[in-house]
Amino acid sequence: MYEIKHQSRGLVSHGTTACAGCGLELIMRKVMDVVGEDTIIVIPPGCSALFSGFGKETNLKIAGVQMNLENTAACCSGIRAALDAQGNTHTTVLGFAGDGGTLDIGLQALSGAFERGDRIMYICYDNEAYMNTGIQGSSATPYGASTTTTPGGKRQPKKDLMMIAMAHHIPYAATASLQNLNDLKKKIEKAKNAQGPSLLHIHTPCPTGWRFHSSLSIELARAAVRTGSWILYEYENGKITINSKPKELQPLETYIGKQGRFRHLSQEQRDAMEKEIKENFYAYTSMLERMNVPVETV
């Protein structure tokens, strides 16, 4: 049993060791507000592990375990199976991992759990690199971003986690952002109540890794959506809803111009990148819309 040292509001302790302006911390607080005490969380090593705690202290007031980097989904499946075996269908089993633990090393276990249809809730907070080990590039690092292992800027675009999830036909998957907390909370609620595997892929500004001022986290989350760099949509029982479709996309500079990780890009490269992102936004959203059209009317 825990000895509560500080009666903080909610299930996350008052102070944490997250960096100032950390997007992940805000996500964790919002997630805990919605999922509540009747939850078991699995966290891999990574930034989210600071909520597991250190030594005798933890930042979460719920039951949880820090397992390996690549088995978050499998561990959730094991807990779900044990709860089901004991007739407990009410407890939420939540996996909470970063982009490296999800799109890279944890993808196999995640695919396994999705394919089996195990009723687990999986959150990928995507800060677009291995931040806890010191900003190494991951398959979620966007095109052009400089990290310690892509010092000249990454030459490939992000891996598309949502398409991978949808290919498994899971009941609920969505992208989310800190730019709209009501939208985020609504999606957490839906993910929690899904009758099968659910995925939330949440864009997570990281002042340390993206090199921006810690006061700008929400502003950058918003800029990512408004420039078309992060597309908000839901996949719910086979139906896709695009949650934010700006009439006109903002100049990309409002997003990348405030981040050190894109500083090395020339004006020419920035222009090319803006064109690419805009084209991708329209192509991608129209593809999503077409995916909703019933087959017989095509």
Binding site: I62, Q66, G78, A85
Partner: protein, 401 residues
């Protein structure tokens, strides 16, 4: 009392069923495949009330099972060879979190070169990971030692996982007559699964396995060491009660004609049956040879070894793994360490790897060498006892064909 004809794999599955495991997650790998097949059939038919999680890898298999046990139920998996190697990282999670999982492991060599067949290298690579390890001589032992493993692993003085090791094909695919214990008696012997130390329970939250600094880490490892030490007593108790209830006797180490032996061979697993036969034959010729069968390799029963070696001044140790780069193999080190304050001479043998049969002639050769050394006729011994003469000329490589 009933009897069944079972191979080692089916015996392992029957033992997990008798243990009433509630969560099973297993990934197929030769020669273990029959275990997950049999268990999934049992679940499908309703013979076993359990959740079967059809995982996509061994890494996930042990992850599922470890977390399921943390969440309150008896859970099990089984693997072999490269599968165990893939699990390695989670193997440490299971023992470090003191989760009493019982896992049959069908011993097989680790690639490369690819081999499907028996060798102990897979489990020997895991010997320092804080699990108990039992090595089975026959199919009955597979069944019995798995049941004993539940009892010992889950004891509050131990709370550590156990690998029940059975030789690939020699046991996994060998049909033998097995005495089946009654379910009620097994229930009584093992007891109900209950989390005794750490658990995942939303009504009494705990956070498990967080980052631990060097001010506590050493002490946690020491606690594991003490638990392994304590498991010797728990094993003794369990063996005694098992004998009383089921009529079959087990020991951590079994001495076979070691009392008055001039030379003793130490071995593990299925080859012990052959070795006992050789001992019987050679005894008829008046040769005083004996066998030490190590059933429990972790915790290593050094005290028992010292007592059982008795008067024998020459000991041979058979490693069914190559112990590459070492001054001998893993069993050899342990025996040398156990006998370090005795004048006993210890000789190392490697053999039976990659499925090579450990034949009567091989064991006779070892005993003859040890007897010759004992008699002062030679100081030479053949470490790689079943090596072919053309070891360096196996295949001709033709390039640019």
């Amino acid at each position: 009392m009933s009897y069944k004809m079972l191979d080692g794999n089916t015996a392992a599955a029957e033992a997990l069923k008798l243990g009433r495991v509630k969560v099973i997650a297993s990934y197929p790998i030769t020669p273990q495949t029959v275990i997950p097949e049999t268990l999934s059939e049992m679940v499908e038919s309703g013979d076993l009330d359990a959740q079967y999680v059809r995982v996509e890898s061994e890494h996930s298999a042990l992850s599922v099972v470890t977390c399921a046990a943390m969440a309150g139920v008896r859970a099990s998996t089984a693997t072999a060879s490269n599968g165990l190697a893939l699990m390695h990282e989670v193997v440490g999670m299971t023992s470090g979190n003191r989760v009493p999982v019982v896992m049959p492991v069908v011993n097989r060599g680790i690639a490369a070169p690819w081999s499907l067949w028996c060798e102990h290298v897979d489990t020997m690579c895991e010997r320092d990971m804080g699990w108990l390890q039992f090595y089975c001589q026959n199919v009955q032992e597979v069944l019995d030692l798995t049941l004993i493993a539940f009892r010992v692993s889950e004891d509050a003085r131990v709370l550590l996982p156990t690998m029940v090791c059975l030789d690939g094909f020699f046991l996994s695919h060998s049909m033998q007559k097995v005495t089946m214990p009654e379910q009620e008696k097994v229930d009584q012997f093992i007891g109900e699964y209950k989390n005794k130390n750490v658990y995942l329970d939303p009504t009494d939250p705990m956070f498990l396995s967080d980052l631990t600094g060097n001010e506590e880490y050493t002490e946690m490892r020491y606690q594991q060491k003490l638990a392994l030490d304590a498991s010797v007593t728990v094993l003794e108790e369990a063996f005694k009660e098992f004998e009383k209830e089921f009529g079959r006797k087990y020991e951590l180490v079994e001495g076979y004609m070691t009392q008055d032996a001039d030379v003793v061979l130490v071995a593990l697993g299925s080859m012990c049956g052959t070795a006992q036969y050789v001992v019987n034959q050679m005894r008829k010729e008046g040769k005083k040879v004996g066998l030490l069968k190590v059933t429990v390799f972790r915790p290593f029963p050094a005290e028992y070894i010292r007592k059982l070696v008795g008067s024998a001044s020459v000991v041979g140790v058979f490693d069914r793994s190559a112990g590459l780069g070492g001054d001998g193999g893993p069993v050899f080190y342990e025996i040398c360490s156990a006998l370090r304050n005795q004048p006993t001479q210890v000789y190392h043998y490697v053999g039976g790897i990659g499925g090579r049969d450990v034949r009567v002639e091989t064991i006779e050769m070892i005993y003859d060498e040890l007897l010759a050394i004992k008699a002062g006729e030679t100081t030479q011994h053949t470490e790689w006892i079943d090596l072919k003469e053309d070891a360096l000329e196996l295949r001709e490589v033709i390039k640019n064909v």
